[in-house]
Symmetry: C2
Subunit: 343 residues, 2 copies
Amino acid sequence: MADRKIRNMEEFASVSGISRPTLSRYFNDPASVRESTRKRIEKALEQHDYRPNVYAVNQNRRTTKNIGIVVPYLADPFFTEIGRAVEVECISAGYSPILLSSHGDPNLEKENLESLRSLKPAGVLLAPFGRSSDPGTIQKFSKEVPLVLFDANVAETGEAFIGTDNFQSVGLMVEYLCRSGEPPCFFEMKSASNPNANKRRQAYQESMANLGHPAHIFQAKGEGWNFEEIGSVEGGKMLEQNLFPTRTILCSNDRLAIGMLSAAYRLGIRVGHGQDCVLRIAGQDDHPFSRFTCPPLTTMAQDYAAIANSAATTLFRIIETGSQSFNRQETLFDGKLVMRDSA
Amino acid sequence: MADRKIRNMEEFASVSGISRPTLSRYFNDPASVRESTRKRIEKALEQHDYRPNVYAVNQNRRTTKNIGIVVPYLADPFFTEIGRAVEVECISAGYSPILLSSHGDPNLEKENLESLRSLKPAGVLLAPFGRSSDPGTIQKFSKEVPLVLFDANVAETGEAFIGTDNFQSVGLMVEYLCRSGEPPCFFEMKSASNPNANKRRQAYQESMANLGHPAHIFQAKGEGWNFEEIGSVEGGKMLEQNLFPTRTILCSNDRLAIGMLSAAYRLGIRVGHGQDCVLRIAGQDDHPFSRFTCPPLTTMAQDYAAIANSAATTLFRIIETGSQSFNRQETLFDGKLVMRDSA
DNA sequence: GCGTAAGTTTTACGCGCGTAAAAAATAAAT
DNA sequence: ATTTATTTTTTACGCGCGTAAAACTTACGC
């Protein structure tokens, strides 16, 4: 196949009979050369298996074809899923995605942005921590690199934000729970650093008020990202002490709900919407594991695909038009009710 | 803090009063310059916030400080965990890890190696698919880049392999299950592309033979990485049809076990090791979710940390000594029995 | 067949840094 | 203080490619 190792574009130019600048243009954008020369190049490419040196290519370019994707915690399947969806979008648009996780540490988020900066990315898709993110760092970063936020919003930061409409999502769930039984209590973490958590609490309160029910909010203490653990331990205590005034609990997210389900099982409390059940538990997010909990979790599904697609295409548009859009856009997608057995 | 933007090492040399070649040496290895000059450089660094251009740096170097980490499926929390552990090891050793997922697609594994190759990595840590991996591609790659395999072995490929001792792990579980009740049946996927799956089946057979029990193997049909789904649907069918000759089932991995637990719950089969339980289910891997299943899953914990550490340090040694070791090493770590409620 | 637009080649420079060699400066040892 | 070993500076070149400008070639319409 390969006669000998091609060392650089110069050599490939001589063996292919095409001038180096033309080759350079081809590799930047195959459509920028004439049909006939493109064929010639591609034929030569098959025979010689040459690829431009990534580092040399990116050295002089102001901006590369790299797109950074930063998520707060990749071990959370939610972020794995949405991170992957975004990754795929980037690849199919001809960009090179670089997926980074901050492993639950806001400082790592800073470091990730820092190291991304030196990669001169064309743009960055960031799912920030939210309140525990350093807004200064992100805003400064945003002035140098096109930045689109997703999942969690940070006010006035980045060119756009794409996420789920928590008010719609929680509102719909509250309405469903009320119609199908009784008004829910709300279970969340006390130290919720995520802006979605705050929105969800507010949404719960509003929805309950609209329906004429009193709101009951229960906050579990606990730090970090072990939501299941917190849901299980703290939620379990609340169940044991019989603190909840109604027999229906809406958890701020699925991972807390998963924890609480395990606590309920441990305590012998039968969860579900059937006659023989004494407790209903619902979540938010449609976590990949939610369909395998016992019982399977009733929850609100975020539209992963739409969020990923919208975030990516928004970023691409900004990159390609080069326009810092004047008005920062916020796009919210509706969640869908997924009725399973837990509520 | 920063007077003005430093554009390159030349400028930083002039503002810091250190010559550029010395700076270059410092950035390659801070220990290679005299103590006093190091201090001077670091002081200047604090004031001016300059960082060498990654692309220019890597252009001429034969080998970079990059280390590729490739896992087959990042959405599987097992790989997220171990991938992260490896990542941390790399960072603390002064390398730049690049974590790539093949998203369950063996072709993507090839592509990942391909794109890694153009990044001229110092070395690569690969958790291969196993049988569905393309051994030719990997072996060819291994000739160009130091390669250490982990989790799943591919014969004669790479400089070393680090993983879990499936025979010890399964053997111990089988013995526990026999001692604490009755001999287990074995539940796995029919089309198990993972070499660990094969080892585990063999280990089950051997262990059962050693203990004088007949082996009972049940294979679920199904493709892909939706192990929970397969465990739930196919395992559920087997439970319904009452196919298992004993009331104890050892699943080839936790994800299958999680699926089967959900099926058991759906079918009203009480799982656990208590008197009131009619079925015991055990797994392998200590999946992060296993402690929150209903009931919590008895399983064998892999020593993530040890595997990650061993794989990384092995690779570092190969990189730093530059020695293609003559004898390919295979290191296996023992699993630990985690007794929870399911068996 | 000619004119024009579009694409290609030639030529040449620059990017930011690695690195080699020789000269100079510094530190350590005698 | 002198020699010696170590480190730094000076000088200079090269890496592989982007890219600009001018000359050239090709394609296409009339």
